[in-house]
Subunit: 381 residues, 2 copies
C-alpha cells in the first residue's frame, strides 16, 4: 500500500498516540526544583493554614473593643504593636488597624479613626485551609504560587512525574544541515521533556535503523526522510528496527508523520523534514506523546477561544488542515497565507491557528471557530 | 515619616522601576540555546526563503501542461517523481500532485485525475521572504517556530539580551524557615532571569546590611523584614548599605515593597515576607524590573481580556487592590476570597485577577473589567 492510500485520519492517529503513551513514573523533587513540574499525587495540608491567627495586612494590632467610638472627629489614642501581614496576632489583640488608617504617635501609640470588629484584618487559624485540605491535585502543573503555598504548608518537596527523556535523530538530505533540531528541542522542553541528544544520522535505511537500535530513551524522534521520495527511508528503517504502527496522517502540514517502536521497546515518532510539517506534526502528535508521558494535559498547550472569521477559509476535504490566522478587531480573526504557501514563516506571522476538520471544505466568512492562540499573541477584548 | 505616610501610588512606584531598569547587554546564543531568549537586534533573511522553488506538499512532481484534460473520467497516466514537501522541484517540472490526488502505478507513473496550474503546490523561490526581509525584530521572545525559521534561513545563532542575574536574600523571622524562596526562584526563572543564590540571612539590620554589601548581581531581592514591626529591618539595612529610593506602595497585598541600591550600585528590591504580599509585590514591581533588564515586555506576563463582573468587587479607596477572580460562564467572572482573607491560596484557587485602581472603591456587578488570566486557566468562549 502507498503512503497516500493508508493514511489515517488525525482522530485515529491521535487515538493510537493516546493508547501508546501514559503518565510516566514519579520521582521526588525539592520545592525549588519543582516549578513547572507536574504533581504525581494529591498534596494535602498537614496542618491548618494559617497555623495561628495572623495579621492579614500591615498595621497595628489592637483589641477591637478598645476602638469602639473611634472616628475622625473622635480619634482614640491607643497603645498598639506594629505588625506585618503574616505575623501572629499578639495575646490580648484580635484586630489589625491597617497602616493607612492609623496615625502613629510616639511610644507605641496610634490615633485610631475607625472602629474595628473583632477579627477584622485577621486571617484566622485554619481559615485558608483546614488540615487535610487539598493543596494540589495529581496532574497539577506547579506554578510559582503553588510552590509558595506548599512551602508555607511546611513541605520541602513532593513527588512529581518524571520528565520524559527524548533522543532526536535528524536525517537531513545529502550535504544539507539540519534546521529542525533547535525547534524540536525547544518544543520538547516547553512540554516538560528533556532532550538528551540530538544526533545527525546518515539518511539511509541502514543509517536510520542503526541509530534507532542504539537509541535508549522514553521516545525517539526521527526528523526527516518520511516522505514519498526516493531518499525517504525513515518508515522502512523503523519497520526494520522494530514495528511501524502507522505512517501517513490526513493532516496538512504534517502528512507523513509516523509512529512505531524499536524491538527494544522504545517508542519512535517519525516527523517530516519540511520545517512547517515538522512543527505541526510535533504539535499535533509527537508533543501529545511527550505531554502524556510527563503527566500533563495532552491537548495543545495553547489557550483556545471561540472567535469569528472575518474572511472564509478554504481547505481540502479529506484532510485536517492547520490554518494560520491573525486577530483583527474584537473577536474577529482573518486567515493568513498558509503553511503550504510560506512554510514555517506562517507560524511566526500568525497569532494562532484554526483546525479545519477533514470532513470540511473550509469555513465561511462569519463562522464561529475555535482559535488556538500562540503564546504572547493577541487575545482581543 | 512613617511607612504609611510616605507610601507611593502604584503608578509612581512603577515609574521609578521603569526609570531604574532598562534592557541589559547582548550576548551570542547558538540556536539550540535560544528558545525563550529575547532577540537583542533585528534579524534579517540573508537569502531568499525558500532558496529554490520547492514542493509545498508531499506528492508527485509533474509538468503542469501534461495534466491538461485530466479528470476522474479521463485519468492521465503520467511519468512523475515522488517528492516530499520542502524538496526542490526537479528540472522540467512546475507543479506537484498531492499524494491524496494521485494513484501510483508501477515504475514511477501515476494516474492523475485533476489538471494542475503551473506553480500549483509549489512554494516559489523567495515567496516566503525576500533577501533582507525581517525575520525577528529586536525584543522578540523567541518561540520554537522562530528557531526553525532562523535555522532554515541559515543562521546558527543570534545576539540575545543577557539573562538578568539575581541574588535572593531571605530574612525569615526567628526560627522560622523561609517559605518564599522556591516561589521567587520560579518567578524569576519564568521572567527569563537566573537566580545565582538564595541565601537565608540573619533578620537584623546588620545581618541584612552585610549580606547586601556582598551581593554582586544585576538585582538583589530582600524577602521579609519590610513591615512596620519591631523586627522589620530591611529598609533601614538598605539605607545603611546604600540608598533607599522608596519604601511603601499603595498596593494590597504588597504594601511594604521597597526599592533602592547598594553603595556598589546593585539595585535592591524589598519584598514583604507574607507569602501573598511577596507574590503580588514580585508580580507588580520586582518582576517588572527583571523583565526590563532581560529585554522583555515589562508588563504582566499574563494574557488579559475584558470580561464582565458577575458580582461586585469591594475595594478600599486609596490603595490599588489585586482581586482574585474565577471565570464562570461565557465572559463572566466572579470575585473569590481575597488575598487578605486566604493568603496565597487565593492565587492557586483563582483563574486570574482584576486590578482595582486606587481611586476606586470597587467595581459594580456587570462592570467590564480587564482580567489577567493565570497560565493554563480558563479563557471562556
Amino acid at each position: 500500500m502507498t503512503l497516500a492510500a493508508r493514511r489515517l485520519s488525525l482522530a485515529d492517529a491521535t487515538s493510537l498516540i493516546d493508547r501508546a503513551f501514559s503518565r510516566g513514573p514519579a520521582e521526588w523533587a525539592v520545592l525549588s526544583a519543582a516549578g513547572s513540574r507536574v504533581a504525581a499525587e494529591e498534596v494535602h495540608a498537614a496542618r491548618p493554614i494559617p497555623r495561628s491567627d495572623r495579621a492579614a495586612v500591615d498595621g497595628f494590632a489592637v483589641a477591637a473593643d478598645a476602638t469602639i467610638g473611634a472616628s475622625s472627629y473622635n480619634p482614640l489614642v491607643l497603645p498598639v504593636r506594629a505588625i506585618s501581614a503574616g505575623d501572629a496576632i499578639p495575646p490580648g489583640c484580635d484586630a489589625v488597624i491597617p497602616l493607612a488608617l492609623a496615625q502613629p504617635l510616639p511610644a507605641d501609640f496610634v490615633e485610631c479613626i475607625e472602629p474595628l470588629a473583632p477579627g477584622e484584618n485577621v486571617e484566622m487559624r485554619g481559615s485558608a485551609a483546614a488540615p487535610g485540605a487539598l493543596l494540589a491535585s495529581a496532574g497539577t502543573l506547579l506554578s510559582p504560587a503553588h510552590l509558595g503555598v506548599l512551602a508555607g504548608a511546611g513541605l520541602t518537596g513532593l513527588r512529581v512525574t518524571r520528565r520524559p527523556v527524548l533522543r532526536i535523530l535528524v536525517a537531513p538530505r545529502g550535504e544539507a544541515t539540519d534546521s529542525n533540531g533547535p525547534m524540536c528541542e525547544t518544543l520538547v522542553c516547553r512540554d516538560g521533556g528533556v532532550v538528551i541528544e540530538t544526533l545527525a544520522v546518515e539518511r539511509s535505511r541502514q543509517g536510520i535503523r542503526s541509530a534507532l537500535e542504539m537509541a535508549g530513551a522514553d521516545i525517539a524522534l526521527v526528523v526527516g526522510g518520511t516522505g514519498p521520495g526516493p531518499d525517504d527511508h525513515a518508515a522502512a528503517a523503523l519497520a526494520d528496527a522494530g514495528e511501524l504502527a502507522f505512517h501517513g496522517v490526513a493532516l496538512r502540514p504534517g502528512e507523513t508523520v509516523g509512529l512505531g517502536h524499536t524491538a527494544g521497546g522504545v517508542p519512535v515518532i517519525l516527523l517530516p523534514g519540511a520545517p512547517a510539517a515538522c512543527f505541526v506534526g510535533y504539535e499535533m502528535l509527537a508533543g501529545r506523546a511527550v505531554r502524556h508521558l510527563g503527566g500533563r494535559n495532552p491537548g495543545l498547550p495553547y489557550r483556545s477561544r471561540v472567535m469569528r472569521l472575518a474572511r472564509k477559509i478554504v481547505s481540502a476535504i479529506g484532510t485536517t488542515e492547520i490554518c494560520p490566522i491573525r486577530c483583527t478587531a474584537g473577536d474577529a480573526v482573518e486567515p493568513l497565507p498558509s503553511f503550504a504557501e510560506i512554510g514555517l514563516l506562517a507560524a511566526i506571522a500568525a497569532d494562532g491557528f484554526v483546525i479545519v476538520a477533514e470532513g470540511s471544505e473550509g469555513r465561511p466568512q462569519g463562522a464561529q471557530v475555535t482559535v488556538y492562540l500562540y503564546e504572547g499573541k493577541c487575545i482581543g477584548g
